[in-house]
């Protein structure tokens, strides 16, 4: 027997001066004589995309269970991906409630969202808990470059009072490495890009200055390596590699555009240099990079704080000059309610675009989306009422083939959100008996 197929190691990188580019999952990474049983499965990845201030619940909530049929107005952008999502109802975060601490639902709900614990009400000696993404990242991060990635779009202040005595550290972070150590999200796309693909830290100040001056593509830097590798690949893998490198190039072009264009629209807060002009562009850039990071196994765990809890960001891009948070306290006033729905739909459109990108990427016989658990969620259900039960929760992906998507699943009231986390930890290969206020894994998501 003559074996012509050459195996490529899973952890192969394209290297150049000041740049390292990991590779996506290629067919050649499967040994030539592998059987179905021995074929390595692509890893399962998980991410959270968090939106603040709850949703306009009447335009979000589905009034049925079972197979997804007619989607609500806010879910409508996900129509093309109906068979790839589950919409989960009645999940509750008790730790987000007042309990004994009075006002401050925004501060509490974001700080407790992934930690499952009620944060200490303070502006100085902050205390929440280790978030479950960090626990997972520590366990599955060994074969990746980053245990976890933390992304965001908005304000990253870590001090001051952001909600009724709750520190801004609570509203402006999702991930917590330790109970008093939040992990601020990276907001600047170029900073994220260089973190993922550049070795700038290793460069001398002069070299870094030169590189910034000429802004060479990282693809130029690794082109020699890419050509050499390409010769060893079959036509399918060559195409995959081309597509992958093109997506990185696209990100670079988006970045360049953002650098030029960064103050066209005022989103209501100060933006550092290089932050894209509009929200959709920023969202797209961040999620494009996250997609590449997942595709190339740079990380398996990410959190994305779309905008911070309690934000008063305006959405002039879609003709809404009012602040998001004030709008959510609409007291039933129809025009304000409508604006909240439009913001919710706008966010969902960006998410749907990302889901589409994940679905378009093939991984063996499956897609990148199939091997993901992407949760789109909020720490408040109805922003007007500040309710912490029936939190909006959408799970995109099949968790590596273990979930059966395409359904509206409504759990019993008070079902802890932490039960979902237990299930996700299990699918990530980190089985845990208890997390936060969990009472057991979530049933109903599995294939059976």
């Amino acid at each position: 027997m003559i074996i012509t197929r050459k195996a490529v190691a899973r952890r192969t990188f394209l290297r150049g001066v000041g740049a390292t580019v990991a590779l996506p999952f290629l067919d050649s990474m499967v040994p030539a004589l592998a059987t179905a049983a021995t074929t390595p499965k692509p890893p399962v990845r998980m991410a959270f995309a968090y939106v603040p201030n709850g949703l306009n619940f009447k335009d979000y909530k589905l009034d049925y269970e079972g197979k997804l049929d007619k989607l609500s107005r806010i879910l409508q952008p996900l129509e093309p991906y109906k068979q790839d999502i589950n919409v989960l109802g009645n999940l509750t975060h008790n730790a987000g409630r007042a309990l004994l601490d009075g006002p401050g639902d925004h501060g509490r709900c974001s700080a407790s969202y992934l930690t499952g614990l009620q944060p200490r009400k303070t502006m100085s000696d902050i205390k929440a808990g280790v978030s479950f993404d960090q626990i997972v990242g520590q366990h599955v991060g060994a074969g990746t470059s980053f245990n976890t990635l933390e992304l965001g779009i908005e304000d990253a202040r870590q001090a001051g009072d952001c909600d009724s005595g709750y520190s801004c550290a609570y509203t402006n972070n999702l991930a917590w490495r330790a109970e008093s150590q939040p992990l601020p999200p990276t907001l600047n796309p170029r900073a994220l890009f260089e973190r993922l693909f550049g070795d700038d830290a290793a460069l001398s100040p002069e070299a870094r200055r030169r590189r910034n001056l000429y802004r060479r593509s990282v693809l130029d830097l690794v082109s020699g390596d890419a050509k050499r590798l390409s010769q060893d690949l079959g036509p399918t893998d060559q195409r995959k590699l081309d597509e992958y490198l093109s997506s990185i190039r696209e990100i670079e072009l988006q970045l360049a555009r953002a650098d030029k264009d960064s103050i066209k629209i005022d989103p209501g807060f100060d933006k550092p240099y290089g932050i894209p002009a509009d929200f959709a562009e920023h969202f797209s850039l961040m999620t494009n990079m996250l997609t590449v990071a997942f595709q190339s196994n740079l990380t398996r765990v990410a959190t994305f704080l779309v905008t911070r809890e309690g934000t008063s960001r305006a959405y002039r891009e879609i003709g809404i000059p009012d602040g998001h948070h004030p709008l959510t306290h609409h007291r039933g006033q129809a025009d304000l309610v409508e604006k909240v729905s439009r913001i919710n739909v706008y966010h969902m459109q960006q998410f749907a675009t990302w889901v589409g990108k994940l679905k378009a990427i093939k991984e063996g016989d499956s897609t990148l989306l199939d091997n993901c658990m992407i949760v789109y969620g909020a720490g408040l259900a109805d922003g007007n009422r500040h309710s912490h039960e029936d939190l909006p929760t959408i799970m995109a992906g099949r968790g590596g083939g273990s979930f059966q998507p395409g359904r509206s699943i409504v759990y019993r009231k008070e079902t802890p959100m932490c039960n979902l986390f237990l299930t996700m930890m299990d699918r990530m290969g980190v089985p845990t008996e208890h997390f936060g206020d969990s009472s057991g894994p979530l049933d109903g998501l599995d294939l059976t």
Binding site: N90, Q158, A191, D270, R412, E414
Partner: protein, 357 residues
């Protein structure tokens, strides 16, 4: 959930076999009577046998008492806090009182009361609801009354780190089941014997029992129903009473005694036994053995108080729904918030966002 402060009235967690006995329904009415006088709050309601109709009746009663708050936004029916129910795939046992009450119709053959509860997921997981409510109360500011199977208590005990929470929060725990010092098999204990044994052995606080004998000695007077509830011809409590048996009839009221005792601890309505240990045999009989170290006691009727207790039963159970206190931050929290606001004003201006990574 409500904001609570150390000054907030005691929150009563009522785990009840609502509709299995008329006593359970009257006890809920009595609880609302006490809440209307600001002597306590209805912290949570859980049903301890698997029948969605019990949750429907509970919702009907809660809506009735919420009606004093006035119509809700848009004229909708008032939103009732989640009601926990034991879930089961089996068909519910026959409960004539329950079935008749929830199916009552008006002159035009329309159902008297609407319920939003149609499926199990319209109700809450009882043990999680109780745990969450305990967390929302200050230490020693919650009370618990149980009437019916111990199923929900046993599942509550299965939750991690729960015993210290129960011990810290509960001021008093009363179980309205059994017969003391010993007696006939108890239907509630028998319906989930392992749960009853687990609770008697593992419950982390003292337990006071209100037994069948006490209920029989001080029954609820059925003759009072037509007059005391006459202010509303469609009163759900009176309707349930009428659905129970041929009127008029008196009912043993151990659950009413349990609620009255839990909230008015110092009123001297009942006598208390010496400490001891309650056990339940495999055929559901309870037995009380005196023991100085025992954590159990049971209530005893005080002949001198029977008339007073009966009067309290009728007055409180038939009390008109009371408007809730105005919604504002409790004084202690209000002061705290003002202090925080003042402190925030003194803070230096916020610094610029940190350098990006």
């Amino acid at each position: 959930m409500q904001f609570t402060t150390p000054e907030t009235p005691l929150g009563l967690i009522f785990d009840v076999n609502l509709g299995q006995t008329i006593d359970s329904v009257l006890a809920l009415a009595l609880l609302h009577g006490l809440a209307g006088k600001q002597e306590c709050r209805v912290a949570s309601l859980t049903i301890n046998y698997p029948d969605l109709r019990a949750a429907q009746l509970c919702e009907v009663i809660e809506r009735y008492y919420l009606s004093a708050s006035g119509p809700s936004l848009g004229g909708n029916l008032p939103t009732v806090a989640p009601i926990g129910v034991v879930e089961s795939r089996k068909a519910p046992a026959d409960q004539p009182l329950l079935a008749k009450t929830v199916a009552l119709t008006d002159g035009d053959n329309r159902k008297l009361w609407a319920s939003d509860i149609k499926k199990w997921n319209d109700t809450a997981i009882p043990e999680i609801l109780i745990r969450n409510i305990l967390m929302a109360n200050f230490d020693g500011k919650a009370a618990m009354v149980v009437s019916g199977p111990a199923t929900n208590l046993a599942t509550l005990l299965n939750l991690p780190d729960i015993k210290p929470l129960i011990a810290a929060k509960l001021k008093v725990m009363v179980i309205a089941d059994g017969e003391f010092p010993s007696g006939k098999p108890d239907a509630a204990f028998m319906s989930d014997l392992p749960a009853a044994k687990r609770v008697l052995a593992d419950w982390p606080t003292p337990i006071v029992f209100s037994g069948r004998e006490l209920g029989t000695q001080i029954p609820f007077p059925g003759a009072s129903v037509e007059s005391a509830f006459a202010y509303n011809p469609n009163h759900p409590i009176a309707a349930a009473y009428r659905a129970g048996h041929q009127m008029p009839y008196d009912v043993p009221a151990p659950a009413m005694a349990a609620v009255l005792y839990a909230i008015r601890l110092s009123e001297g309505y009942f006598k208390l036994s010496e400490p001891g240990v309650v056990s339940v045999s495999n055929d559901g009989r309870t037995e009380f053995r005196p023991s100085a170290e025992g954590k159990h006691r049971y209530l005893k009727a005080d002949p001198a108080q029977v008339e007073r207790v009966t009067k309290a039963y009728v007055e409180l159970a038939s009390a008109k729904p009371a408007a809730p206190p105005p919604r504002r931050l409790p004084p202690a929290l209000q002061k705290l918030e003002e202090e925080r606001a003042a402190a925030a004003k003194k803070q230096p201006p916020l610094s610029d966002p940190p350098e990006q990574q």
